[in-house]
Symmetry: C2
Subunit: 215 residues, 2 copies
């Protein structure tokens, strides 16, 4: 693997910002979009469980409806792409069994070889109530969101993550209520408008000594 140039990486980290105004004319090239979808699919998750589903919203009318449940934020309709990141609302024993079967099949390994992992995961899930299991799934989904946003920045693609949405309304509109998944967050992706005043604003962060300690 040939790593990316360090200056490129540094500059992408500084270049990224939460885009408030997208240029509605600009489209993400197909190969780049595929790479962004891959960054979600290949995202790390604890035990590899992938407790998520990513819903890409292409339909303009659906975008408009969702915008009404998103404090009317224009990114929802103006960004080239929009992904609703949903997390498992009830990660349960059935999903653990399914994952172990899938793992054994994928690796062509007898299922017995995974007995220890199966027991570990079963205990892990049994040790959490439904609320905590959902929470845990949401955390993993935020990790995937981080991978998506950082990958986009490396490719010179702008993003705006949105928590300012009504997740229950999203679940309702998207028919997720009985699906086992619930809306966790949204990410819009595309290219900043040339007049987005936030693009030029300096990034405001606490000084390193306040957020990073060394022991």
């Amino acid at each position: 693997m040939t790593p990316a140039d360090i200056d490129t990486v540094r500059s992408a980290l500084g270049w990224r910002y939460a885009t408030k105004k997208f240029d509605p004319q600009l489209r993400i090239p197909a190969a780049h979009w595929q790479t962004l979808l891959d960054s979600l699919r290949l995202a790390p998750s604890s035990f590899g469980l992938q407790p998520w589903k990513f819903i890409v919203i292409d339909d303009p009318a659906l975008r408009q409806t969702l915008r009404e449940h998103s404090w009317n934020q224009p990114q929802i309709t103006d960004a080239d792409r929009m992904v609703v990141l949903t997390a498992r609302s009830d990660l349960n024993q059935g999903e653990i069994d399914h994952w172990i079967d899938f793992l054994a099949d994928s690796q062509g390994t007898p299922r017995d070889a995974f007995d220890g992992l199966h027991k570990l995961l079963s205990g892990f899930v049994a040790g959490m109530d439904r609320h905590r299991r959902h929470d845990w799934s949401v955390r993993q989904t935020y990790l995937a969101l981080g991978q998506l946003m950082t990958t986009a920045a490396m490719l010179g693609i702008d993003t705006c993550p949105l928590e300012g949405i009504d997740p229950d309304a999203y679940d309702d509109v998207l028919g997720l209520t009985e699906s086992g998944f619930a809306t966790a967050a949204v990410c819009t992706l595309g290219y900043r408008a040339s007049d987005d005043k936030y693009a030029a604003a300096p990034k405001v962060r606490y000084p390193a000594e306040q957020v990073i300690e060394t022991r």
Copy 2:
């Protein structure tokens, strides 16, 4: 900003895996390590609130103690670097006031200009109980973890995130109990050992059609 080459990005996403065995001899170069710290400090968070503190553990004896609270996983002592990602355990009104003051100072803007945001954030925090505020902070911290891991992969640096730790014991050992922060997760960073058998194992992921839907 000159974006990274798409093939480089694609290959980094596939190259990354949760490294089980690090080469304890190999060191991350200083400029790369600084870039990884920057990826944490510059990570996105909702409202820019940065509800986190990142604790780098350099002391070998402290690493050994923490390993005992981490199911004895060798990455804790063998990886070149280790970061404990902690999240605010009680994001409260005082922190909101502090953030708004800091924002106004940083941008050289009168504090009055942020009255709307101050009211919004105060309502946001007041609307959650302590448990949910902590949870919310942990989610943001996982986003930062995602940015860290993806940035590392782009730079050709291996990582292993660890949830399999005893967070209460970590808080105790690190003296975090009264600090307003609590251990959320750990990330170890360095370079894979040439005989880590997991490096060659195919990445097991559900097929795209199971985790990505288009509407």
